[in-house]
């Protein structure tokens, strides 16, 4: 059986390999610019075609009417004021003298140094570079007679401002969230960690989209070898497009066939900063407010940024609630089905009488009843996400009324099933980081419980357990610090110990720089109390 599955996997993996045909315009990257403006412009038009947002502004350099120049840019990606005032105006009115060197050749450096009042000017000589710069919002200046072009940083486009994140909202803690723009996101991290060791390594991924991707880490703290491993995996990405960080996740995760995600993500700069300081590395993708972190361990899903801002006792109780909800949302329908179908003797007698009274007249077996309700809940959930907001409330009213009340009154579903599914539904949203696996596991256990009762649930749990312990994320055991057990890791696992007691970084991220805090010395304060 395993061999057969392996064969299928091998087949799939060969099928999914991107076709390795060479890009037709690959030559453009290496082609160098001509000395003639007309030839260069023709080349530019050949590559970019007749797009309506491409602007080619030809002009004559001031004072020397025979020297022609051209500006290339994309409308909407450039800052018009800078183009007009800092590039076009000085070139058209102030240049002219000293443009040529003594030997008579055109001196492109003197334009860059003498006339362009912009802090970001680069010299280009390849067509590929020129195209990329124009497409990413720079303005490229071509001058007749020069084999090199100048690229001026003029990027500006409409973007969403920093808002509070939609997911992971907190009561106490910072309210800013990442946006779709890479630069804003990196600036948010820089503002949190003012440390020269915070490194942002830029890459470009995607043959067609050329998306900017940034690997962020703190040099002395990051897990040794992690950044190199990320780079190797990033280099293996051969795809047309990266439209969201989810694309990157799919390519770099350790277990691509797993239902558990082995790459963490967050919309909150403070969460990401916290993980960077624990030794993780982050991957920011331009165009996505969700920043990835690797490695990811299972217990991370139950930790929130707020845990560290509130008192440890309360934070610990919240973690217990989250873990409890995780099990409830996966197992509650399954347990209900197992109890009512196979193990009625385990229900306290008085409760059993009440339940039997409620169940009388329900035409379906418990498994079917549970499946109907769980599917119904998933439908409502999906509809609630996709619907426009004004209609959303209508759906929730109809859902609550029709399913909650009418189904019971009509005798389709037992009232206890409604309670069980409601608890399941509410608990579902407590652990958002695992929401995708939760939903699948619920069906898995439900069907096992319907077929084999308590034995099925136990067998399923053992299966999931063995699966989880054998998962790894970037060399870190997925279930650590629970198994393999670590005392240091346990301080921030089920229990959130006081901050000052977490002296070392979590064990799985061991590097040289392992101490993160000094223990708190309260003796002076306590002495003061006694005196007073």
């Amino acid at each position: 059986m395993f061999g057969y599955i392996k064969k299928i996997r091998r087949y799939l993996s060969t099928k999914n390999q991107p076709d390795s045909k060479k890009e037709p315009k690959k030559a453009a990257a290496k082609l160098s610019l001509f000395g003639s403006l007309d030839k260069n412009l023709a080349l530019f038009k050949e590559y970019l075609g007749e797009s309506s947002d491409v602007i080619v502004k030809e002009f004559r350099l001031g004072g020397d009417a025979r020297t022609r120049g051209a500006l290339l840019m994309i409308d909407g990606l450039v800052n018009n004021e800078i183009v007009d005032l800092a590039i076009l105006k000085p070139l058209m009115y102030d240049t002219g003298f000293k443009l040529k060197t003594d030997s008579g050749a055109l001196d492109i450096d003197s334009i860059s140094k003498g006339f362009l009042s912009s802090h970001e000017v680069n010299k280009l000589s390849a067509v590929g570079e020129m195209l990329h710069d124009v497409l990413s919002g720079n303005t490229v200046l071509l001058v007749d007679g020069a084999k090199e072009a100048l690229s001026v940083g003029t990027r500006k486009w409409e973007k969403r401002g920093i808002e509070s994140p939609q997911t992971e909202t907190v009561v106490r803690g910072p309210r800013e969230g990442f946006t779709e723009t890479l630069r804003i996101n990196t600036s948010l991290l820089r503002r949190k960690i003012k440390n020269p060791n915070l490194r942002l390594e830029a890459l470009k991924v995607g043959r067609q989209t050329k998306t900017d991707v940034c690997i962020v880490y703190i040099k002395d703290i990051v897990k040794p070898g992690l950044v190199e491993e990320i780079k190797i995996r990033m280099a293996e990405i051969k795809t047309d497009s990266i439209l969201d960080s989810g694309y990157i996740e799919a390519y770099i995760e350790d277990a691509p066939y797993s239902i558990f995600s082995t790459v963490g993500n967050s919309e909150r700069p403070d969460t990401i900063a916290g993980r960077l300081l624990e030794g993780h590395a982050a991957i920011i993708v331009d165009g996505s407010p969700f920043v990835l972190t690797v490695p990811m361990v299972f217990i991370e899903s139950f930790q929130t940024a707020e845990d560290y801002y509130i008192r440890p006792y309360y934070a610990t109780s919240l973690r217990a609630i989250r873990l409890f909800c995780y099990f409830i949302t996966i197992l509650a329908p399954a347990l209900y089905v197992a109890l009512t179908t196979f193990h009625q003797e385990l229900i306290p007698t008085q409760l059993l009488f009440t339940m039997t009274a409620g169940l009388s007249g329900v035409p379906f077996p418990a498994l079917v009843e549970a499946l109907i309700m769980v599917v119904m809940f998933d439908i409502l959930k999906e509809a609630g996400v996709r619907l426009p907001k004004p209609i959303g409330s209508a759906v929730s009213i109809v859902g609550a009324l029709v399913i909650g009340q009418s189904a019971v009154t009509a005798g389709l579903i037992g009232p206890f099933m409604i309670i069980v599914v409601s608890i399941t539904a509410i608990a579902n949203f407590v652990v958002p980081a695992q929401s995708d696996s939760i939903s699948l596991l619920r069906y898995f256990f439900l069907i096992l419980a319907g077929l084999l009762g308590g034995f099925g649930i136990t067998a399923g749990a053992l299966f999931v357990l063995v699966y989880l312990v054998s998962l790894k994320s970037f060399g870190v055991q997925y279930l650590s610090p629970i198994t393999p057990l670590s005392r240091q890791g346990m301080k921030d696992c089920f229990v959130r110990m006081p901050l000052w007691s977490m002296i070392k970084r979590p064990f799985m991220m061991t590097g040289k720089n392992n101490i993160r805090r000094e223990p708190l010395d309260v003796s002076r304060r306590q002495k003061g109390e006694k005196d007073a």
Binding site: H343, G454, T458, L465, V466, S470, T483
Partner: protein
């Protein structure tokens, strides 16, 4: 197999041993049948008898670092006799595996879901164990940590809840059983739950530090013996003389829990506990059999053996015992005798021969 090169740490091995031995927890009711209210003493004597033998396993493994039982047999007895001894060991493990599959089916069929055919339990359980074996012994060891902690927590929890039901006069009259009965129970306790950890000698090449092995093995066995002792004391104190009547005493004892008519009938906890521990035990035996057979026939990979051996074991488990009564009869009359050559005679003998022949010849670790 995934993670085949991953090593098991000493702490993980302790938990693996605890879960492995706890997989035999049903045996306690057999002991209760023989020594009745004195069972707790026979537990202690059983453990004390086991210690030297377990040490002999550990020293045997320590003497041949990185070698497993089959390789050790080859060195000690020579190629031909060594292979025959190994084949007997593998048959022993294979039969144990089948009996344990039969146990799980019997338990669920007898106590929890009487209408479901036994085959269903065995096949479902075997598939999950096959998956675990495919994932490697390191994964099984990591999972055993959680099952062991679950076992310990459940025993403590149920004991606390049963304090109200306990009556310590149930232990009287003491020393009522005859010396022969003590001997029989000690023999059963040593040969069945404790002695079966001889199977762990097959996975020594997956262990990280051979030097700590004797300590780890005795620790693991000691903790398991303590858990057994706690269970026996709890059951005897709660049920009294009636422990001889029930064929599953823990299950009956936990059934007595009644806290405010709310926390009642939590005997499913015992069942879960038993299933989880037995899962680890079966996985270890399964892994050991599969790797052993593949080593013996010099197979390139043991993966194809997993399901084929599994199907043999499933059939064996179905046909091995006609009924639960037959199984119990076997359990307390013949099982210990059946296991004796493999757990009590061969390992000390091997150690003795190794000492006399001064094996291994090159760079062996002296004790």
């Amino acid at each position: 197999m995934n993670g085949i090169n991953e090593k098991i740490k000493a702490s993980q091995l302790t938990f693996l041993i605890i879960s492995f031995i706890q997989g035999s927890v049903l045996l306690i009711s057999l002991v209760d049948d023989i020594t009745k209210q004195d069972s707790w003493m026979s537990m202690v004597s059983g453990f004390v008898v086991s210690v030297p033998f377990i040490l002999s396993y550990a020293f045997l493994a320590k003497r041949f670092p990185g070698k497993n039982l089959i390789e050790i047999n080859d060195i000690i007895y020579g190629n031909t006799i060594g292979k025959i001894v190994s084949i007997f060991y593998l048959l022993f493990f294979l039969l144990l595996l089948a009996f344990n599959f039969g146990d799980i089916a019997d338990f669920f069929n007898g106590y929890i879901m009487p209408e479901t055919p036994k085959m269903v339990f065995i096949v479902v359980f075997a598939l999950i164990c096959a998956f675990a074996v495919k994932r490697g012994i390191a994964a099984i060891a990591k999972a055993s940590l959680l099952t062991a902690i679950f076992t310990i927590a459940a025993v403590i929890f149920t004991t606390i809840l049963l304090i109200g039901e306990m009556d310590f006069s149930n232990f009287q009259p003491m020393f009522e059983s005859s010396a022969k009965e003590y001997l029989q129970v000690s023999h059963i306790m040593f040969c069945l739950p404790f002695g079966e950890i001889i199977a762990l000698l097959m996975i020594t090449q997956h262990m990280k530090n051979d030097k700590k092995l004797p300590r780890t093995m005795v620790w693991g066995t000691g903790i398991s013996a303590l858990i057994f002792l706690a269970i026996v004391v709890r059951d005897t104190a709660v049920l009294g003389a009636s422990i001889t009547i029930f064929s599953e005493t823990s299950y009956q004892a936990v059934r007595m829990i009644d806290i405010g008519e709310f926390l009642t009938r939590i005997e499913l906890l015992v069942a879960l506990n038993y299933t989880a521990s037995l899962f680890i035990k079966i996985c270890v035996l399964y892994f050991v059999t599969v790797t052993g057979v593949s080593q013996l026939v010099r197979a390139k990979s043991s993966t194809p053996l997993i399901l084929s051996l599994g199907s043999i074991v499933i059939v064996l488990a179905m046909v091995s015992f006609g009924s639960t009564i037959y199984r119990n009869e076997w359990g307390y009359k013949y099982a210990a005798l059946f296991a004796t050559p493999f757990t009590a005679i061969l390992p000390p003998l091997s150690l003795l021969i190794a000492k006399i022949r001064k094996l291994p010849n090159t760079g062996g670790v002296r004790q």
